[in-house]
């Protein structure tokens, strides 16, 4: 397992991972500080969203507490031409690519089903049906290859694709088919599996008997396991394999071993299926705490950490205010974008509902 930051914040590069270590050596202080800033922003956002759900402002929330290193590290390793196909818990990856977090909350509030433009953001829509996005990412990466945007020798021209999924999703056939299609096409694709060890109440042993990073090997997709709570491992390993994919090395799988500290969603009750001892064990391996210890050892002082906390409070306040202000969409939105071209049934039903709704207004006006 690739690890550069131990749980107590000690930094070290094992000889066998020296190649990844070189990538970390290229990082500047501002990069480490950015990782910390984004990891704490992710957690503050997550906690705010949980609170909003508890207040009835969101229909549901999908917490990712504990997975900050896996997401922020890998997210920052994605290049400016690359595309990202997330599952539905990648709020941190969204932060690394400046996605408007309100777009995510709109979904969870029930205003729409997504609605951001993946062509502009390169961060594709959340996928609720497990594994479906992985085969889309594979097709997209095949298209990148067909377009000749791999291994051109010009780094600014080449592109790669990364897709996120969890340990639970690995059981889906779509993911096995994705390994195959990606391998036979030598597609520039990194499969990033966040093994947070629980698929709702099913432990990872329900999904696999072999380590998940080995899952792609039989299809021709090599893999590696990283400490998913180490942001430096997450960044360096993802950066290396995204660079390799852009250069024509083909698909690769990264299993980030992490832990879902929170519930699967706000509808879940994890006390029914796992022990407090287990949660405590992983809380002691918290990804943010270990980065903070590392940074303090590097001489980063209180003022930085306090400033981060202040910025995050401001962000949380803005999120809260904007969520309260979210309005239900106009009724006619339901009929929009079902088809790109005219469809008589949709038009007829939209017109009918408009008239039906108007009939109440007329009655109201008469009364």
């Amino acid at each position: 397992m690739v690890q550069f930051l131990s749980p107590d914040g000690t930094y070290g590069v094992p000889a066998e991972y020296a190649e990844y270590g070189k990538i970390i050596a290229d990082l500047k202080e501002e990069d480490f500080l950015k990782f910390y800033r984004h990891m704490t922003r992710m957690r503050r956002f997550d906690n705010e969203a949980t609170a909003l759900q508890r207040q009835g402002q969101l229909g549901l929330w999908v917490p990712a507490v504990g997975q900050e290193a896996a997401q922020i590290g890998s997210g920052h390793a994605v290049g400016k031409n690359d595309h990202i196909f997330p599952s539905y818990r990648e709020h941190g990856v969204a932060i690394t690519h400046d996605i408007d977090l309100m777009a995510i909350l709109k979904m969870l509030r029930g205003v729409n089903h997504g609605g951001w433009n993946p062509d502009e953001t390169r961060f594709h829509l959340y996928a609720i049906v497990l594994g479906t996005q992985v085969i889309h990412a594979t097709g997209y990466a095949m298209g990148v290859k067909f377009d000749g945007k791999v291994g051109t020798g010009f780094a600014e021209r080449d592109e790669a694709v990364i897709t996120y999924f969890g340990d639970g999703a690995t059981a889906e056939g779509d993911i096995s088919e994705s390994f195959l299609f990606a391998a036979i096409n030598n597609a520039p694709l990194v499969f990033f599996c966040q093994n947070n060890q629980w698929a709702i109440s099913s432990s990872v042993e329900t999904q696999t008997t072999v380590p998940l990073y080995q899952r792609g090997a039989g299809f021709g997709v090599p893999g590696i396991r990283i400490d998913g709570n180490d942001v430096l491992a997450s960044y360096a390993v993802t950066k290396k394999h995204m660079d390799d994919a852009r250069n024509g090395a083909g698909p690769f799988m990264i299993e980030a071993l992490t832990y879902r500290i929170g519930a699967h969603t706000t509808s879940d009750d994890p006390t029914k299926y796992r022990t407090q001892e287990e949660v405590d064990y992983w809380t002691a391996r918290d990804p943010i705490t270990r980065l903070e210890k590392f940074l303090r050892r590097q001489g980063i002082n209180d003022s930085f950490f306090e400033k981060c906390a202040e910025e995050n409070e401001i962000m949380a306040g803005e999120i809260r205010a904007q969520t309260f202000a979210l309005q239900a969409p106009p009724i006619e939105n339901m009929f929009q974008h079902v088809y790109a071209e005219s469809h008589p049934l949709i038009e007829e039903q939209a017109a009918w509902l408009k008239g039906y709704e108007a009939s109440f207004e007329t009655e109201g006006g008469a009364a």
Binding site: G114, T132, F146, E177, I184, H337, L345
Partner: protein, 327 residues
């Protein structure tokens, strides 16, 4: 080059795909065995030689993967024409078609469109083993976001495949496999109609039979026999199962007052069920009899030695004509 050429449906689809590929280099064709072999029905024969392996290639035997990668490729700007080898093999891809392909445009609030064509040889009558003779069109017509069409003759096949490829929406293109080798003239210059327009193939005044795909030839045969029994039968080729062109059907019903809808698919919760319900809503006072449905029975598609009794034939259509007129 002559304005019209005689072709089989197989050759007409092939010619239509080639035309679309020549017009737009983003059109790519893939599926099981479509490249060197040209597909098990040879619909894509010769395309590899003309356009090369970047435009047509074989996929692994993984239907969800075929449609899933088609979705990813269309996000990248390609216009995939994916083949599912047989009707009964589409179900591994059902999730990708119904929860993803049909919904991604809606989910993205129009930021993305999904111009993917899925070609599916469908229907029975060829003496095949299980899973090779089915008519699963209603599953897809039930799903918002998809368009579902089926040509019945070479001219429609040539034009409708091109219209499907040009559409910004996902189109399921059902090919009437037992009519693949039926010949007809193809007008290479002028399309007969839009891909969702029904056409009146035969005028009549007593009864209307609405059919699509492989049953159109059966309906025409029934109409021909009907004349010897003094029946004047109007035949409509519906051509599209989603959306359905009700205007053409209603105009005919207002004239004849009698409607029979037929397909090979099971009747229960089928395209004919929907047409019967809608026509009853929209033309109740014009109907002289209930709308009758003539289709396959509500059983699994039977073994080949029984399919002749499963599939509606001209006699079953004429029996329905008698019932309707005798109501």
């Amino acid at each position: 080059m002559p304005n019209s050429v005689e072709m089989t449906i197989v050759k007409a689809i092939n010619a239509g795909i080639r035309k679309a590929m020549a017009d737009n280099d983003k059109v790519i064709v893939f599926g099981q065995d479509v490249a060197a072999l040209g597909g098990v029905f040879r619909v894509t024969e010769g395309i590899l030689g003309e356009f090369g392996p970047k435009r047509i290639f074989n996929s692994p035997i993984a239907e969800a993967g075929i449609i899933g990668t088609a979705i990813g490729l269309t996000m990248r700007g390609y216009r995939p024409v994916a083949e599912i080898q047989f009707d009964g093999f589409v179900f591994p891809a059902f999730n990708q078609i119904t929860t993803q392909l049909a919904k991604l445009q809606n989910r993205s609030e129009g930021a993305m469109t999904m111009p993917v064509v899925i070609r599916i040889p469908y229907g029975g009558g060829i003496g095949a083993i299980e899973h090779h003779s089915e008519s699963p069109e209603a599953y897809f017509a039930h799903t918002p976001g998809l368009r579902v069409i089926s040509p019945s003759n070479p001219n429609d096949a040539y034009w409708m495949i091109q219209q499907a490829i040009a559409s910004e929406d996902p189109v399921l293109f059902f090919e009437p496999k037992r009519r693949y080798w039926q010949k007809g003239m193809v007008d290479l210059e002028n399309p007969p109609a839009g891909m969702h327009q029904a056409t009146v193939l035969r005028q009549g005044k007593d009864v209307t039979i609405a059919a699509y795909g492989p049953m159109v030839a059966t309906a025409l045969q029934a109409a021909e026999i009907g004349t010897t029994e003094g029946r004047s039968i109007e035949v409509i080729d519906m051509r599209s199962m989603s959306p359905i062109d009700y205007a053409t059907i209603l105009e005919s019903v207002k004239k004849t007052g009698h409607l029979i809808v037929t397909h090979e698919a099971n009747i229960n919760v089928s395209i004919s069920s929907e047409v019967a319900a809608r026509v009853a809503e929209l033309a109740f006072y014009h109907l002289e009899a209930p709308v009758l449905r003539v289709g396959g029975f509500d059983v699994p598609y039977p073994a080949a030695k029984l399919e002749e009794k499963f599939l509606p034939d001209a006699d079953r259509l004429l029996e329905a004509v008698d019932r309707s007129l005798g109501y």
